[in-house]
Symmetry: C2
Subunit: 333 residues, 2 copies
Amino acid sequence: VKKFETIKQILGEDLQKSPSHSIGNAFAPSNIALCKYWGKRDQELNLPVTSSLSVSLGSKGATTFLEIIQDNHDQIILNDVVLQSDSPFSRRLVTFLNLFRSNPQLKFKISLHSNIPIAAGLASSAAGFASVIKALDQLMGWQLAPQHLSILARLGSGSASRSLWQGFVEWHAGSRDDGMDSVGESLTETWQDMCIGLLIVSAKEKILSSRVAMQRTVTTSSLYSAWPTKVAQDLATLKIAIAEKNFSLLGQTAESNALTMHATMLSAWPPIFYSSPETISAVQKIWSLRAQGLEVYFTQDAGPNLKLIFLQKDAQAVQMNFPELEILQPFSN
Amino acid sequence: VKKFETIKQILGEDLQKSPSHSIGNAFAPSNIALCKYWGKRDQELNLPVTSSLSVSLGSKGATTFLEIIQDNHDQIILNDVVLQSDSPFSRRLVTFLNLFRSNPQLKFKISLHSNIPIAAGLASSAAGFASVIKALDQLMGWQLAPQHLSILARLGSGSASRSLWQGFVEWHAGSRDDGMDSVGESLTETWQDMCIGLLIVSAKEKILSSRVAMQRTVTTSSLYSAWPTKVAQDLATLKIAIAEKNFSLLGQTAESNALTMHATMLSAWPPIFYSSPETISAVQKIWSLRAQGLEVYFTQDAGPNLKLIFLQKDAQAVQMNFPELEILQPFSN
């Protein structure tokens, strides 16, 4: 919290003032990292060991309705269900909101709607915290730039720092202790015919939060020491692939980056393995399709589900092989 | 082959002389590495990047009957089936035998019997090449020490250097270019109540030879740089665990070592993943049993099958959970 006071000072006195509105409401997209964020250099400020790069998911994400209430505690509603105040998500959100109350009596009703499965490794917390900070910006009348909202969203969930923009977003690791240079940046390049396919293998809540998994990996995995170098290479390669519209290069790099992240977890103790047997079947199917010439790649986050990456020209073939796939086009409205 | 001439000179003129018998016959056990051999510093001499440590499997392994024949090519019989001379295994074995012919006209009938599934990641080639070199030692009348046979067996298959002994065997990486210090050593310690359970998930031939997989990992995996340090730590820990009969420490270290080896492969390109969905189900079952207090660990080589590690007191409980398990007691005859 002491570190947060520094952030407040740097962002100006704006964060101290009383709310200018009684409601706020905002949407933020989910984002899928093509180069992953895995490992923190600061637990409190969610400062990452490495930079990362994502693509946002257009209309897939979270919407937050925020309202000031006359009550002695916050009220949190997730997809129309009132959460217990001692649930893990409630605690996390209340702790986040505590950072921004102009006085301790200021309480909120927070209603979050997510149109993607919660906590199934589909980056729902990123969209959640990004939409909360945007709604808070409205309600409080801060009128902060997206870069500054990115810094604040990061305090709730690291990857939320990338959900302030659509399209390709790079989250710069930064090097400052206060994290003021650990911020998202929207890339100008787009990729009209890129498709992301959501393959829900299981919509169950994941066994281990990415927060805990990440920390255990950093602490116990003997392979983690090689991760920062891998990220630096993949990040540079992905930018080349995006600039040159070299889809094979993008797909290979994203898939290899995800597999390497999961590899660092396999080497942790106790070992962490998010894939279910169904995940493995799907992965083998993807590899077999690729061997047959269909250019489809995947990435995977802290859960059993896969995100397939392919071009629009192959969308029909991919859909035929994965009938249950939900296909998104991040760059076309 | 030039490097092999050096080895011949060091071992003495014995290797040049004509056969003293017309037949030879020998058994060598399979071995399961608790600390894996993964990566070569010399392709021709099968010199490893790191040392490794295994336990031999008693009566599970390979028997070779070797006989001089009057023919213009070798005849190779594997489990009573005559192999084509252009099959991969025939080529590999003939190339190996070429190193030892006192004249090019010397041809052999080689009949190999393996009592474990061939090429399913159950170290059948290790037992195979170790039994061939022992049979050759008889037939040729070399009367070499096991250490020297270990060096020669390594030229056929790296892990064969560990199959010259029963019990715990350490294969020292060595540092010499000619590999004369890259040799197996039998550890004096035993562990009477240790059990190894063979869980055959699939007896199909593996998709990718460990030879190719290893080389691809060394060349393309960004995590491989962290592997030698992991091995050095695990090797030291395993020796402590064996000396102190600390089974939890042995099990954890062996399992973590295997997972880390597979992790380096996940990070290769194209990615290498030997586990099938059935392997993953079994792994999850093992983790779940362990969470319930049953001390069972696993190791896995270049195939989908698992080797379970547990103590005799838990053998019945493990067998009940894996009815198809074949339980071996490496230290009791």
